[in-house]
Each structure stands twice: as C-alpha cells, then as structure tokens.
C-alpha cells in the first residue's frame, strides 16, 4: 500500500530539519530554527487544553515561564546540574498546572480565561517580588549551558540545542498525536463536544480535566528549561501579554484542535516575523491583522486551507495538510458563558 501523501510530506519535513544544520551553519538561521522548534512544541502542547479539551487555559505560557525560572534558579543560584534543572522545570510546570486546574474545574467560559490569566499575573508579581531569588525585573542571567560528557550544547553554533529542540518537538508531536487517538484523548474530546452527554456516560469530568492539564504541562516545562539554558537567561517578560498573544496566534493561524496546525502556525509565524524584522514593531501589526483575518475567514486555520483548496480542485482525497478529525470551529465552540 502506498503511504499517504501527508505522511510522506511530514517525513520529508523531518528529514529536512535533521539535515538543515549539516548544510547550513549560519548562526542566524540556527537561532530562528531553534526558536521555531521551541515554539512549536510549546503551542502544540497548549493545544491539548485549549484545542482538544476546549478549556480556555491562558496559563500555559506561565507554565513555560515557571519551568524556565525553576531551571534557572536551581542551576545558576544553587549550582545543580542542568539536567536536574530540566527535570525540575518539568516538575514545576506540572505542579503549576494542578494548581491552576483546581479553580478551573468549577468555572466556565470567560471565567476560565480570567482565572488562568490571573494565575500567570500572580506568578509574575511574586517573581518580581522575590528579587533575592529571581533577580526581580532583571531576571536571571549567565545560566550554565547544557552539557553531555563535557561537550557543551552551545558548541558548533548551538548544534546541540538545535537537535535537542528537534527531539523535543518530535516527542511532543508523537505524544500529542498518540494521546488524542487514545481512549483518554477521545474522552477529553467527548467532554469538549458534549459535556452533559459525556458525564452521563460515566466520564469523570473533573478527573479528566485535571489529567489533561497535567499532560499538557510536561512539554512547556521541558521547553522552558531548554529555553533558559539556550538563551542563558530567564526574564519576567516571559509572563507578558505579548507572549500569550503570540502563542495564541500560532495556534489559531495554524489550526486549533488539530495535531499539525500548531506546528504549521509556529513555523509560519516565527519565520514570517523574522522576515519582517526590518519593520520593527510594525511586524506585530501584520501578525495581529492576520489573527483577525484568520478568525474571520479561515476558522480552521491554515491547515484547513489545504482542505479547502483540495476541494476546490475537485480532488477526492482529503487535502495534504488536512486534519483527520476535529472539523473547524468545533474546538472553540464549547464553554459558552453562563454569566
């Protein structure tokens, strides 16, 4: 049997990403690639709560930022090994997700947005407050790099970080793809699509929500740790509005509630934003406009565009980039407000 076109396409992309550092060692391209890879795993894990579970979790970037800080503090201040720092980053992120999830269990719609958002702000204020530990507004700098047997990941133009970020992305993508196809994933989506029915069929809504929050928090923790070792700094800006907006736009532009959408979105927006670097703040005007236009005219995101084009061309096979499940619109249609 011929493998599907989409599978071939993704294998080709992966192969290209593996080969990229071998053919190009410009530090600029390397940096953009690493950032894109990190963003991709960050938003594809965010997609678990926001897209697949339909819970409007605005705290995902706070999980990431807390992971970065945990790794930074333990390695820079307490001199722990960076690898232990990575573990601590993941643990911190997962613990944070449990704390956020508890109030969320009782709330709906806009209230979920506000609580999860307030959690990020609360962490931000505490981090500003604890200057002795966190460096306050200056953040933490000169964090030690990751090393394996004395080989620094920063050597050879950060090639170690590049491959680590790529491995992380492959792992998170496989993880998300497997998870949404599993019974657990189906339960999560059932709860999103018809909560009352799912509960009446015996789905323990609170338990499932808590589990999907924890499941979604593993990768932001890891990305946070890796990020702080890569840029060798952790700054309170990580809790800001703009990072949330950027992450959200990657999800929405790519296609929320699909496995591949966030990856497409992260790649598109990171590269686009770099191409427009000359515009300065002007590029954010373009990105903001893009978000609104996509929400208006392409609610399924860029991945649904492939489908639409394929249909327009009269092709019988589903589009190359088309998600196999989760039609557009569905991801965001739950959680209408009660207020």
């Amino acid at each position: 049997m011929m493998p599907k076109t989409s599978t071939l396409l993704w294998i080709a992309t992966l192969a290209a990403l593996v080969v990229l550092p071998l053919v190009n060692d410009s530090s600029y391209v390397r940096h953009v690639a690493i950032v894109a890879l990190l963003y991709a795993s960050l938003v594809s894990s965010w997609n678990l709560t926001l897209g697949f579970a339909g819970v409007f979790n605005f705290g995902h970037m706070a999980f990431f930022a807390l992971g970065a800080y945990a790794a930074a503090i333990l390695t820079q201040t307490f001199g722990l090994s960076p690898w232990l720092g990575m573990v601590a980053a993941i643990a911190t992120s997962v613990i944070a997700s449990v704390i956020v999830c508890l109030p969320v269990l009782r709330l709906k719609g806009i209230y979920v947005v506000l609580v999860t958002f307030a959690f990020g702000q609360l962490c931000y204020q505490v981090i500003l407050n604890q200057r002795d530990i966190t460096g306050g507004t200056f953040g933490i700098v000169s964090i030690p790099p990751l090393k394996i047997a004395g080989y620094s990941f920063a050597a050879n133009t950060n090639i170690g970080y590049y491959y680590f970020a790529l491995i992380l992305l492959v792992a998170s993508t496989v993880y998300v793809a497997k998870l949404v196809k599993s019974d657990f994933g189906r339960t999560v989506m059932a709860l999103r699509d018809n909560e009352t029915y799912a509960i009446s069929r015996g789905v323990a809504s609170a338990k499932i929500r808590l589990m999907i929050f924890m499941a979604s928090a593993i990768f932001p923790g890891a990305v946070g740790g890796l990020y702080s070792f890569y840029v060798r700094a952790a700054s309170p800006d990580l809790f800001g509005f703009s990072l949330i907006t950027l992450g959200l736009s990657m999800l929405l532009v790519g296609g929320i509630g699909t496995v591949w959408g966030p990856l497409v979105g992260a790649a598109t927006l990171t590269i686009l934003s770099e191409l427009m670097a000359d515009l300065g703040p002007g590029r954010y005007l373009v990105i903001a406009t893009m978000i609104v236009l996509v929400l208006r005219f392409l609610p399924g995101g860029l991945v649904s565009a492939g489908d639409i084009i394929a249909r327009a061309l009269g092709a019988k096979t589903p589009g190359v980039l088309a998600p196999r499940r989760a039609p557009p619109d569905r991801a965001t249609s739950r959680d209408t407000p009660t207020g």
Binding site: P103, I110, A118, L122, N129, G282, L285, A288, V292
Partner: protein, 296 residues
C-alpha cells in the same frame, strides 16, 4: 493609646492615594463593564484605549506635538477614543456576533487589537516616555495632608462623570435602550431598538471613558505603550468583584479595591499588594462568581 498614632498618621495618605486610585479604576471598570453587560464580551483592548488616550492628548497638547493646549488635548483625545471604540467594535466584534463561541473569539480578537494598537503607539511615538501637563498645578492641604490639585480634580471629576453616566443610562431614551439590550437582546430587537447602534454606542462610551482615564493618569505617571496594562488588569478585578451586570457594584468595588490597594501598599509593599490582588481575584472568581452585587 500610643499604638494608634502611627495608624492615624498612616491613614491620611492611604485615604488620599486610595481615593485617587479608586477614581481611576472606577472610570476604567465602568467602561469595561458597560461593554460586557451590553455586548456580552470582555474587551482585552480596553487598557490600550487608556494608553492611546494619553498619547493622543499628549500629541495634541504638548509643545513637541501640535501644541494646542491641554483642554483641546483632553477633548480631542476623548472624541478620538470614542471614534476608535466604534471602529474596533466594527472590525473586531461585529463580524463575529452570532457565532456561538463569540465570547472566546472576542477575547482573541480584542487581544489582537490590543497587540496592534500597542505596537502602533510604539511605531508612532517611539519608546521614549512622555508626560502630560497637570490639569491644575499646585498643591492643596486637605485634612492635614498635602495633595496635588490634579489629584483633587481626579477625585472630584470621576464621581461626577460616573453619576452623569448613570443618569444617562437611567433617564434618557438612548440610555434605556442600552440597558434594554443588556437585559434582553432579543426582546430589545423586537421592540425596534437598533441593537447594532447600541453596541457601537456602548463601545464609544467605554473607550471614551478609558481615554479620559488615560489623560488623567498620564499626568501622574509616565506615558508608555504599556501603561494601560496594569489598569486593565485592575479593571478586570474590579468588575469581577463588583459582579457582572451591576453598575453600582462596579463602582463600589472600584473604591473598595482602590482603598485596599493603597492600604496594603502602605503596610506590605507594592509587590506583595499586586500579588495579593490577583490572589483575591482568583478567590472571588471561585468562591463568589457573581461578585458582590452581580445579578443572576
């Protein structure tokens, strides 16, 4: 009774700074609440209205801008913001009305709008901080503590504006129309109220109020592209604590939060206060989701 002296000495500055903060929060929060009640959406671009209001006033009033004087600055700023409110409603909200995920789509479109406007101010006015002139210069002593005349203006002006708004909503036909739409959109539509125009008007008032608050704040603090973020977050807290759907609740809660903030800034410091505010916010959302005076 020695122990009471420091508390009394502290009480006056707390009272003054609390009431100034509260007045600004009240202006911000009523605008946010007005849009929430009428359209049923939370406007994340509300803070940027404030920022932009301050910048526009600066542009019009300051010698390095057009130099037309402060009163022109205030008037033009509020008018421009009201107009911008209508435009934003047209671009970011109207096209999505009727979608069942409107509340969350609106969060994203208004976030995108805020992102757009914030970076626009950076493009237009650059990162250098600016400050507006005070409406009235000089200081005055009230109850034994000095207060700037500008702050006194804020303290007096904010309640007047809010009473005016309340009277407008209560006693004019247009105001009643806004309240009717807020209470029941469908029957308002059946009564022949132009719901879309009402939405635009609510947005215009809300943005105008935020712009006015920006002008007032822009003379006390520095004007930066992100100056609206903190007041926006405070407005969220105020609106939730007051209870969605209650005009009086929002105002009571604004003054409550203002005093609480001033009090706790004095005793436990600014950073812990901000953290405590968000802690309180989460507790209120979970334990008391209807707020102090919210309706069902």
């Amino acid at each position: 009774m020695d122990w009471i002296d420091p508390i009394l000495a502290a009480a006056r500055p707390i009272l003054v700074s609390g009431i100034v903060l509260a007045s600004l929060y009240a202006l911000m929060a009523t605008g946010l609440a007005l849009v929430w009640n009428t359209l049923g959406i939370f406007n994340f671009a509300h803070g940027v209205f404030m920022t932009l209001g301050a910048y526009v006033a600066w542009q019009v009033a300051d010698g390095r801008g057009f130099g037309w004087g402060l009163s022109a600055g205030i008037g033009i700023s509020v008018a421009v913001m009201a107009g911008l409110g209508v435009v934003l409603n047209r671009l970011l909200i109207s096209p999505f009305l009727g979608r069942k995920d409107i509340v969350l789509v609106a969060v994203m479109t208004t976030l995108a709008g805020a992102f757009f406007l914030e970076n626009s101010t950076l493009l237009i006015w650059g990162p250098r901080i600016k400050q507006l002139d005070r409406i009235v210069t000089g200081n005055i002593k009230i109850m034994g503590s000095a207060i700037s005349m500008h702050e006194l203006v804020i303290i007096i002006l904010a309640p007047l504006v809010l009473v005016g708004l309340w009277a407008f909503l209560k006693w004019t036909r247009v105001g009643s129309a806004i309240r009717a739409v807020a209470q029941n959109r469908d029957s308002a539509l059946l009564l022949g109220i132009n719901v879309k125009a009402t939405y635009s008007l609510a947005f215009a008032i809300s943005a105008g109020l935020a712009g006015g608050a920006g002008v007032l704040l822009g003379a006390i603090r520095f004007i930066t592209p992100t100056m609206g973020t903190e007041p926006l977050l405070k407005a969220f807290i105020v609106v939730i604590l007051g209870g969605l759907g209650s005009f009086v609740g929002t105002i009571v809660s604004a003054y409550l939060i203002g005093f609480m903030e001033a009090f706790s800034t004095y005793f436990i410091g600014a950073y812990w206060t901000q953290a405590a505010m968000f802690g309180l916010f989460i507790v209120v959302l979970v334990a008391l989701p209807r707020g102090l005076m919210g309706r069902e």
